[in-house]
């Protein structure tokens, strides 16, 4: 295993050795977009429906469908009749909409195999469902809290989807005649973002916006009984950071485009369990794409709740280590930037370890100004700590062209610094070879090169040289020599090229 557990003194994150947290609650499987969409549609009528049927009433769907083509239960026939009764007509709901919805309901019951078990007499009529949905969709677009409590586990996907849905619904049902969908999003998002936020967050409380009046008017128009069952919107007044309410451990990362909703954000206790889960999963599955995504959503939840404490530090530290191991410099850098600020704010963690990484990283990017700043960041005591001292020695060895000391330091790196040093080891080998070729004449034993440049074997050293020029090695009686005198500009050119393209991905 290449994972090095940091040996810095003080609090150890020890993310591998930590006992597994037993407070962990099972995780529900994430549904795809399509499923989430459907569940939203079904919600209003599946709620009053009877409890789920025991498995034995279920027969294979093909069987059942065939059967039911000829045998509709009387209760269903009555339901259909009631749907089209003139007295049950709701203005604004077209016949086509009703029919479509009716078909959908019956098909859904049929597929679920609950055709016979459902109490059709108490099932709300399609037009009622349509009306209710419209109202809810409208509310949802005004007040995020209105949709709270609906299957929070799919929070993100569902919210995205449901808000898209509500907008198109508004235009279709002409509930917002004064704006097209496009105008709505464009105006709100682009020209006056603060207003948009206010409407989303506090709209129902102020009760003054045009939008809100409209909603109220519609509510008054609706029938009384229906309204009482409607959950009145009461978002908490927003002063300061939001407090999360989501209890699901895993969450896919999305870049925020609107103010976060409490029901989609996990509070700190949940996030701590999430971190434990992620640590376990990382060890078991080693799936970086998944882990990175989860860590990003974890970081996002911390940020929106303004949580900045030792837990925050450990999240960033662990993500930085994992990113480092996988060579994801972009994420690694983001974490490092945060860690620098967090340590500066006096929050405990492993500053020694990460300050050492910082120095090694800036050696890699050959960023002298940043390197200078990184050194300026160190206290006298920190300079004496082993990881920092090591990194500083690496730096000065390179600055003075002392490849001998540099490669010795490479063989003994504290923590995970070797991942960083690996990024520039090839380049420094080329530099050292260029150096040697100019200074040592006429030849050197290959073994000397192997040892000086910390190759693992003569074979590795030989391969490294052959990759640039096959003529430079020669067999003698009992050893191989490296013909430094014949190398000319080979390594000098390779060196220049290697230094000219330092990958600055995610560079701060």
């Amino acid at each position: 295993m290449s994972w090095a557990v940091p040996s810095a003194p003080g609090v150890q994150p020890a993310y591998y050795s930590q006992p597994i947290n037993t407070a962990y609650t099972p995780v529900s499987i994430r549904p795809g977009f399509g499923q989430a969409y459907q569940s939203h549609q079904q919600y209003p009528y599946s709620a009053p429906a009877n409890p789920p049927q025991p498995a034995n009433t279920m027969s294979p769907p093909s069987d059942q469908q065939q059967q039911q083509k000829f045998d509709w239960p009387q209760s269903v026939r009555n339901y259909v009749q009631r749907t089209f009764q003139a007295s049950n007509e709701i203005p604004g709901v077209a016949r086509e909409e009703k029919e479509a919805r009716l078909k959908e309901i019956i098909r859904s019951e049929q597929e679920k195999g609950t055709m016979f078990a459902t109490n059709w007499d108490e099932m709300p009529l399609p037009q009622q469902l349509i009306q209710k949905e419209r109202q809810q969709a409208l509310m949802a677009s005004v007040d995020p809290a209105a949709t709270r409590g609906q299957a929070p586990s799919f929070a993100v996907t569902k919210k995205r989807k449901s808000s898209d849905f509500s907008e198109s619904e508004q235009t279709n049902g002409s509930t917002v005649p004064w704006r097209s969908t496009k105008a709505l999003s464009l105006e709100d998002r682009v020209s006056k973002p603060p207003n948009d936020k206010r409407q989303l967050m506090d709209g129902p409380l102020t009760g003054k916006s045009k939008f809100q009046k409209h909603v109220e008017k519609r509510q008054r128009r609706g029938d009384g009984g229906y309204q009482s069952s409607y959950r009145s919107p009461s978002p908490p007044p927003h002063s300061g950071p939001i407090v999360g309410m989501n209890a699901v451990l895993e969450k896919q990362y999305f870049r925020l485009t609107a103010a976060p909703k409490p029901e989609e954000v996990r509070p700190e206790q949940v996030l701590q369990q999430t971190l434990d889960l992620l640590k376990r999963k990382w060890r078991k599955e080693n799936n970086y794409n998944y882990i990175c995504d989860q860590f990003k959503s974890l970081r996002q939840d911390l940020t929106v709740q303004h949580i900045r404490n030792e837990f925050t530090v450990s999240v960033y530290e662990i993500h930085a280590r994992i990113a480092l191991e996988k060579g994801d410099l972009g994420e690694y850098n983001q974490c490092q930037t945060q860690l620098r600020a967090l340590y500066r704010a006096g929050i405990k963690g492993n500053p020694i370890e990460f300050k050492a990484y910082r120095i090694l990283y800036f050696i890699h990017t050959a960023n002298r100004t940043a390197l200078n700043d990184a050194i300026a960041d160190l206290t006298t005591a920190e300079k004496e700590e082993r990881p920092v001292k090591h990194a500083l020695n690496v730096r000065s060895a390179l600055a003075l062209g002392n490849y001998h000391r540099f490669f010795q330091l490479y063989l003994d790196v504290p923590n995970m610094g070797a991942y960083l040093m690996d990024m520039f080891i090839k380049r420094e080998r080329l530099a050292a070879l260029a150096n040697m070729c100019k200074a040592f004449k006429p030849e050197l034993k290959l073994r000397y090169v192997t040892e000086e440049l910390a190759f693992e074997s003569d074979a590795e050293a030989a391969q490294f040289i052959i990759d640039y020029d096959q003529e430079l090695l020669q067999e003698r009686n009992d050893h191989i020599v490296f013909l430094t005198g014949k190398a000319g500009q080979t390594f000098e050119n390779a060196r220049a090229q290697a230094f000219s393209r330092v990958d600055l991905k995610g560079q701060i």
Partner: protein, 454 residues
């Protein structure tokens, strides 16, 4: 207000930019009484009516060419100026009726700055009035820094952008100054993009603005942005008047920053050129500026021509003396240990000035001097009959190892010494080659240590 506008008219009549800019000076320390007189009783209505009278009715009394457009521009500027004065007096504790903060001063002064810029873009201000832009920009920067300092002190939980995935630690620290940089950049653009013929062009304000921007960017640690400005200037060099036509103070500042930017990019030859120009032009009483220039010029010289500062040069600058003298002495004596100690003692200050990484390379010179001593101590080969004497050029590596060990004060193995010597050869500080298998260094018969006479 009356006095202010009279001053304004006088400056306008004389088309004297400096004098005009003086009317916008908000410096409380030197102009306390004047500012309080302008603020008066702090009554906006009487201020407006004063300005109305002075600008629109009373104009006939004094003959100055002031178009309607210009009048409107200046009217707005002085209104904003008056408001800013109110905030400044309040924050300085010179108003009993109100308190203020530097953040509010900054906002009020920003208004003055924006209106002044607008004067040029919308109200046909002429180019001789450019010093006004400089004054507003200069104080905008000062107030921005005070506002930032004030925020750091109060440490209040300022609004965090909730849409970000992570906190933005840098944005908070220099929020006002970053905002300020944007406005200063506008001033620069306003000057640089003027297409009027040169004698009427605002291009004469370019270096004013650039120097302000440099100061700001350095404070923000955004040297890359300074490079952008340099690029813009060199791209438009044919249009922009040559730098030596500008006041010396601006030339010195500009050359200094240009030199430091080159220095930070390790372009020491160019850095030396710019810094030397700044050094020669700098006024000899500007002690601080001279010291700043030398801080970078000395390390430059050390690397480019291996020149050490003389005691005479450093004498007027005790701080530099303390920093550089031990280093210079160690280099001269070829004393590795003394050099390491001197570098470590000055480390904090060197790092702060960003010369540490450059000075560190001075160790090569120490080492070169040391190896040269070994070479000279080696004496001469036994001269053949009739031929000139030659130095001994085949030197056992052990001799060098002994020297490095003595000078450095700690044990070192032969491999490392060979590595150090390989470096000397690689960097052309020493001529010759190492015969590793035989344990010899073979130095060049002529000029083994280039530039040192042997």
């Amino acid at each position: 207000m009356d006095g202010l506008i009279h001053q304004f008219r006088a400056a306008y009549a004389a088309t004297n930019g400096e004098q005009l800019a003086e009317t916008l000076n908000p410096d409380v320390e030197t102009h306390s009484a004047k500012l309080q007189a302008i603020w008066g009783r702090g009554d906006p209505r009487s201020m407006t009516s004063d300005l109305n009278f002075l600008f629109y009715q009373d104009q006939g009394r004094v003959r100055i060419r002031l178009s309607k457009e210009e009048t409107n521009g200046w009217y707005a500027i002085y209104t904003a100026y008056w408001k800013a004065i109110g905030e400044i007096l309040a924050v300085e504790g010179l108003r009993s009726d109100a308190k203020s903060s530097w953040a509010r001063v900054y906002d009020a002064w920003k208004e003055v700055t924006l209106l002044t810029i607008r004067g040029y873009t919308n109200h046909d201000f002429e180019n001789w009035t450019i010093p006004c832009l400089y004054v507003t920009g200069k104080y905008l920067r000062l107030y921005a820094m005070r506002a930032d300092a004030e925020r750091t002190l109060s440490n209040e939980d300022t609004a965090i952008d909730d849409l970000q995935d992570d906190f933005d630690p840098q944005a908070e620290e220099h929020k006002s100054l970053e905002d300020c940089a944007r406005h200063l950049n506008r001033i620069f653009q306003t000057c640089a993009s003027d297409r009027a013929p040169l004698e009427e062009s605002r291009k004469w304000g370019v270096y004013y603005a650039v120097n302000l921007l440099f100061k700001t960017y350095f404070k923000l640690h955004s040297e890359s942005l300074s490079k952008n400005i340099l690029r813009v200037i060199s791209a438009g060099r044919s249009d922009i008047p040559p730098i030596d036509k500008f006041p010396k103070s601006q030339q010195v500042t500009f050359k200094y920053y240009e030199g430091v930017l080159a220095f930070l990019e390790e372009n020491y030859v160019e850095a030396e050129r710019h810094l030397e120009m700044a050094w020669l032009m700098c006024h000899r009483t500007s002690q601080r500026n001279l010291e700043l220039i030398l801080t970078y010029l000395i390390p430059c010289r050390l690397l480019t021509t291996h020149t050490l500062p003389s005691a005479q040069l450093l004498e007027p600058f005790p701080r530099l003396q303390k920093l550089f003298t031990p280093l210079a002495r160690a280099i001269k004596k070829a004393d590795l240990r003394a050099f390491d100690i001197a570098l470590r003692d000055g480390e904090d200050e060197f790092i702060k000035r960003r010369v540490y990484l450059t000075l560190e390379r001075g160790r090569d010179i120490v080492l070169r001097n040391l190896l040269r001593k070994v070479f000279i101590a080696g004496g001469f080969e036994e001269a053949k009959e009739g031929a000139a004497t030659v130095r001994r050029t085949r030197i056992p590596i052990t001799e060098f190892t002994a020297a490095v060990q003595m000078s450095g004060g700690e044990a070192i193995d032969t491999d490392e010494v060979e590595c150090l010597m390989a470096n000397m050869i690689y960097k052309n500080l020493m001529k010759g080659y190492i015969a590793h298998e035989r344990g010899f260094v073979v130095l060049s018969k002529s000029g083994a240590f280039p530039g040192t006479g042997v």
